[in-house]
């Protein structure tokens, strides 16, 4: 068994003739983070709305929210991305659909990837937000009502500030999941970090250098993001409260 290690490959010029391979990987990392950031904004906004709606007493809104979560949780992410990339443009009015298909690279795959990742992650955020709100003592909502706050005001000033602090730890792991999940977008042509490592492997045959480099980059990102969010969690913590460990649940 022999494998010829050649770490120097990382500093050799890559297939594009200008940048080194390591720069290409870092370029891929840029797309990973940018896609994760855009999808994260969608997921946080939409997920919060759906999560809140599921804790109100509007029966059909709750049902709608539950349906959203079940729908997006029970279809594999890869299939969802295929739907956004291949299927949705076909179902839209013709002019609109072909305008989407003719978006220049990498936007042609970036936009569907961000939409798909965002809506997929929103379902998971919604689940956390709901659990966070429901973990608060019932008295808090009643106190809000007793003070004469409207329902919207109760959420804005009483329930959500606590709920979001409580769900910081699970949201941290959702953030990591989102960053890792952007790799699925390579199947619709987005050259993010994993795809960059894959193309380095294909062109140089230095399989393990390429994958090791990508693995190390992912671990560094992991450490940075986790510590950043932990710091955020600490700096917004309300003194005297220890956030109970909110719902775990599986997932990657």
């Amino acid at each position: 068994m022999k494998y010829n290690w050649n770490w120097g490959i990382l500093w050799q010029t890559s297939i594009d003739g200008q940048n080194t391979w390591i720069m290409m990987l870092i370029h891929g990392l840029g797309w990973t983070l940018f896609a994760a950031l855009c999808a994260g904004v969608i997921a946080l906004l939409l997920g919060s709305v759906i999560g809140v709606v599921r804790t109100t007493d509007h029966k059909w809104l709750v049902r709608l929210g539950n349906a959203y979560v079940e729908l997006f949780r029970n279809i594999p992410l890869l299939v969802q991305l295929f739907l956004w990339f291949f299927v949705i443009p076909e179902l839209l009015p013709k002019a609109f659909g072909s305008a989407i298909k003719q978006m220049p690279p990498p936007w042609g795959s970036f936009v569907p990837a961000v939409i798909g990742l965002g809506l997929f992650t929103a379902a998971r955020v919604a689940e956390q937000v709901r659990a966070g709100i429901q973990s608060l003592p019932r008295g808090q909502r009643m106190a809000g009502t007793a003070l004469g706050l409207t329902q919207a005001q109760t959420y804005r000033h009483v329930l959500l500030p606590m709920a979001f602090r409580i769900i910081m730890p699970p949201l941290t792991s959702e953030t990591m999941n989102l960053i890792k999940n952007t790799s699925v977008a390579l199947t619709i042509g987005l050259v993010e970090l994993t795809a960059a490592a894959r193309s380095m492997q294909e062109f140089t045959f230095q399989v393990f250098e390429a994958f090791t480099a990508a693995t190390v980059i992912y671990i560094i990102v992991n450490l940075v993001v986790v510590n950043l969010l932990r710091w955020l969690e600490k700096s917004v913590a309300v003194p005297g409260f220890i956030g109970p460990a909110a719902v775990g649940g599986g997932g990657h």
């Binding site: 068994m1 022999k2 494998y3 079940e70 729908l71 949780r73 029970n74 279809i75 594999p76 992410l77 890869l78 299939v79 969802q80 295929f82 739907l83 291949f86 299927v87 076909e90 179902l91 990591m176 890792k180 999940n181 952007t182 790799s183 699925v184 390579l186 199947t187 994993t194 490592a197 894959r198 492997q201 399989v207 393990f208 994958f211 990508a214 693995t215 992912y218 671990i219 992991n222 775990g248 649940g249 599986g250 997932g251 990657h252």
Partner: protein, 229 residues
């Protein structure tokens, strides 16, 4: 939507399910069993009082959990032939089939996630039970095997099953190795007949029905167990 072709689905049903779904379900089942066994061992290692054993397990779990499954799939696809050669003493990387490669990948990857579940399960058993086991003269393996693990496992069944539903969805990622799992089969038909809309919508529907149905079953099981305890 007017040109929606149901016939392409009907024509390929046999191929989709007999080839694709059988592969997907076999892979899910084998990886779930392997992952739970290996994950339980990892959890026991993590909770072990031998420091290096616990460090090794922690390192493995954290590594697996910080990189994307797709990268793990690529890693193992290329690594397994080398490991095989190393194990058998062969001079060149041995040939490992796509199926064996994906079973190994998913077992090793999911083991990290299952181990976290099993660790929580083991830690949920009061320490007194372990001491009681030792006081009765049982050794470590007997205490674990007859006292702790049966309860830990039973308490965690709903979460283990939920993770297995996620595993079922994750197996679709073997698509990147051009394997004919359920999604791979759907995608092959889609490309051959240029019927992407129909095939991918149908694939989504099937995945949804299976995952949603299973998650309803898990929920019911959870209620049942909750009453028993």
């Amino acid at each position: 939507m007017g040109s929606f072709d149901f016939d392409v689905i009907a024509r390929s049903l046999g191929y989709l399910f007999r080839e694709g779904m059988v592969f997907t379900l076999t892979l899910t089942a084998l990886a779930a069993v392997g992952g739970i066994v290996f994950g339980t061992l990892l959890a026991m290692m993590r909770l072990s009082s031998f420091k290096w054993l616990s460090l090794a397990a922690t390192g493995y779990v954290n590594l697996m959990r910080s990189i994307p499954l797709l990268l793990v799939i690529f890693w193992f696809y290329f690594l397994v032939p080398y490991i095989g050669a190393w194990l058998t003493g062969a001079a060149r990387p041995i040939h490992v089939g796509a199926f064996a490669s994906s079973v190994i990948t998913f077992t090793m990857f999911e083991a990290a996630y299952y181990s976290e579940i099993m660790r929580a399960g083991i830690q949920s058993i009061p320490r007194g039970q372990v001491w009681a086991g030792y006081a009765l003269g049982l050794n470590y393996w007997q205490t674990m095997g007859t006292v702790v693990l049966p309860q830990a496992f039973r308490n965690m069944i709903p979460i283990l099953l939920t993770q297995t539903i996620i595993l079922f969805q994750d197996t679709s990622l073997v698509y990147v190795l051009s394997i004919t799992d359920f999604l791979g089969a759907a995608s092959k038909v889609a490309q051959r007949d240029s019927r992407l809309v129909e095939m991918y919508l149908f694939a989504a529907l099937v995945y949804f029905i299976v995952s949603f149905g299973l998650s309803l079953l898990v929920k019911r099981l959870q209620q049942k167990i909750a009453i028993v305890r």
